[in-house]
Symmetry: C2
């Protein structure tokens, strides 16, 4: 290298060093948003927790995570969120729900599964499900999710394009599966119609930055083998993920065994259904061979503890899933069987349920339960390189959670509190893709009063449809 | 009857009819407090729910429960609570806790029981338990209970006279048991000291209108038979109830069987321990003969679903308790093993756990779960004639619960929502013995900031005691 070139390099290096080390406002790197002053629970692979920390965001990405003082010195933020007394953490990931079913929550409980379905849910769906119903329900679900700290969700329902629009407008991230099922349903008279609708949906939403369109064959026992194969082929043609219910009840295992002499998981494997990105919900009744196969195929699995308990479906062997190396996330299931979309409840329930079921108080410790709802869920949905933890370069899906209630006093360990004593109501700020959806408890992308009013109006029609009388 | 007398009677009746029918303020009966405009979930024997209802309170008692319009016409209230958009219901009854242990919440979780006790809880208690610790902890617990809708609680701890004072000052109702145990503890070197302390406590608090002092032998395996007998004798001498842990773990059953060849319940029965008002906490490992005997003796039982799950103690056969006619209530247990005192969580957990454990989605329906936390708890504590439901003549322990969150929209059935989607954070007003302890979310009897500050200061000492370093 010639001397002038070397000199120039030295000068350049010195200037760069000065720029990087300087802290006056003029020298700081501009960023869109700085969330600062709280305990950052990153949920990264090393379990990093930064006591008085901050997260810097530019555009849709996280630029830096670290001590507040260091980030304040390095970045000049156009917008700030004060998170003192709060935890700053990745947004929660709900890997299985049916968003519009919030409009059926509490309509009927405590019934045998088939009575519940046949007397309430199916008649209500038959009478009610329409693009408007789905839109109104999704907006209510989005409001609840934003307020309780869910930033990404996976959905299986009808008129999924309405769900996609409402989700994008609310600013949430989602993997949305258009349902395909054997019976005539509101948006498709036949499974063939369903496949055609799904294809149109995949094309229409192919390049959205928040919504990933998906194919959602309902379940192994509600579709013919040929249709199941067609759903996988369709998904792969458009590089879309596939979402399906799997082994939720003992009855399902019996039905599939009677017809095909296989477990539901193996039956689907025999059709090649797992040959591509897949998420299976419930997996309550999977055996060791199923789990080995599902892990090998890279199938993500969604554990729904509250729904499984409320419907008495059984206890999913989640500790065994994890021992087999399955990518596992948590879900709420639809609000008709939960009855809410609060992922903090799902986390706590997972932590308690697997201690009870295993008889071991060390099972499913707080960190592991919280991992299911963050990095685990991201991984189950194939999004682990983009979301699920607070790390520079990942998408900016961040929530802040208040830690100052009587119930959260004293605070020895934020992980323990997040799992055992925190509620969705403690969430104060919700950011998705770098956009603030809720600021200090106030939703920005949704008109709260209008969403609730529209939901109540629709609920009056639901009650009329089910009972023949108008609700309040 | 003579004509003048008859005339006088007719005039008197006409005047009375006018007085009763008139609604001008002057003609209305004065009452201290009218809680009005909400859906009244009375939890009475008939399951009465009054949609646009009200509760009238004078002194410490409920005067009337009914439609808001009727009560507004009949009563002139000096103070009013507007409960529109809310449920008005009896305050929740926590039948088993150790209030000051809120200062240990989240200190250590997810450990084997003996590690948890020996490495954390016992050293922390040895180092920390003092009158001041108990006072600071009880005030924090009282704040949490008032804010989350608990109006009566049963407690077993040390320095119970400090707990009694803090409870009375906070305005809560309680059955408070001074603990007697074989080992030296902070407030007694020997069980004999413990008995003497307890006797003084029973005398001192004999006639308090909020606090019922009680005798609390720790458990069948932590006291000698003679001491257990002495606790019953002491309780009966002062007509005080007795509180005890019973059959919480399999280990306990083994210990008692090894020594006495009986179940814990039968062992205690052989000592005459159930010969008087008694409340047994946990009862996870009771068999059919135990339950028959406990029902016959009228022993109240406290089910603690979250603690039993978190410590993996087993699943209490609560459906069998109820089938045997046992008076059953719900409890949180101490916050070190829960980790909070939110009775709405206990209710939801009971509803879900017994569906899961029985495999029947119809088990423990919403109303039954809520009954455990209200009339059931009252009955378990022998207070069913005074609290547990909203009925004229009962003591005025009333809460109001907001029902307008996204999570509670739409509202088809208030019972369902109270169990499946409501949190302690939804409670807005708490009234005990006719006194308003929290009004529209603002605590009146406790200085919130001071309580939290004192608790955090004490927690710093707890951390130092356990880890040798000060907490934040």
């Amino acid at each position: 290298m010639k001397r002038p070139a070397l000199l120039a390099l030295i000068v350049f290096a010195a200037v760069m060093a000065l720029v990087l080390a300087s802290s006056p406002p003029a020298g700081r790197q501009p960023v869109a948003l700085l969330i600062t002053g709280g305990t950052v629970v990153t949920m990264d692979g090393a379990g990093t927790v930064v006591p008085d920390g901050a997260v810097a965001i530019e555009g849709s990405r996280i630029v830096a995570v670290g001590p507040a003082e260091a980030l304040e010195a390095r970045y000049a933020a156009r917008e700030r969120i004060d998170a003192r007394g709060q935890v700053i953490m990745p947004g929660l990931i709900n890997t299985h729900t049916h968003a519009p079913m919030v409009l059926f929550r509490g309509l009927a409980d405590d019934l045998a599964l088939m009575d519940w379905l046949n007397q309430y849910i199916f008649p209500a769906e038959k009478a009610m499900v329409s693009p408007e119903f789905v839109r109104v329900g999704t907006r209510l679900a989005a409001l609840e999710m934003i307020e309780s700290g869910t930033t990404t969700y996976a959905d299986m329902y009808y008129f999924e394009e309405e769900i996609a629009r409402a989700t994008r407008d609310a600013g949430l991230r989602a993997v949305l599966g258009q349902t395909i099922i054997r019976f005539p349903v509101a948006d498709a008279a036949t499974p063939e119609d369903g496949l055609a609708r799904t294809e149109a949906f995949l094309i229409q939403w192919a390049s959205d930055e928040l919504v990933t369109p998906a194919v959602a064959p309902h379940a192994p026992y509600t579709l013919a083998p040929e249709t199941l194969k067609a759903t996988r082929a369709l998904a792969n043609r458009y590089r879309a993920p596939l979402l399906i219910h799997l082994a939720e009840t003992r009855d399902e295992v019996g039905l599939v065994a009677d017809q095909f002499s296989m477990t539901p998981a193996m039956f689907l494997d025999s059709l090649g259904l797992w040959n591509g990105p897949s998420l299976a919900a419930h997996g309550v009744w999977v055996d060791a061979a199923d789990m080995e196969m599902l892990a090998e195929r890279g199938v993500g699995m969604s554990h729904n503890p509250e729904s499984n308990m409320k419907l008495a479906s059984g206890t999913a062997p989640v500790l065994d899933w994890l021992a087999h190396g399955i990518h596992a996330g948590l879900g709420t299931d639809g609000a008709a069987s939960n009855n809410d979309l609060d992922m903090f409840e799902a986390v706590r329930m997972a932590a308690l349920l697997h201690k009870q079921a295993s008889g071991d108080p060390r099972a499913m410790p707080a960190r592991q339960a919280l991992e299911l709802a963050t990095r685990g869920g991201a991984s189950a949905l194939g999004l682990e390189d983009r979301i699920g933890s607070l790390e520079a370069g990942k998408l900016a899906d961040v929530i802040t959670v208040s830690m100052t209630s009587a119930r959260q006093t004293p605070l020895f360990d934020p992980l323990s509190h997040l799992v055992y004593v925190t509620r969705g109501t403690d969430v104060r700020n919700t950011v998705v893709h770098g956009r603030v959806l809720m600021r200090q408890g106030r939703t920005i992308t949704l008109d709260r009063a209008a969403v609730i009013r529209d939901a109540n109006a629709m609920a009056a029609k639901v009650r009329a449809a089910v009972t023949g009388q108008e609700s309040r």
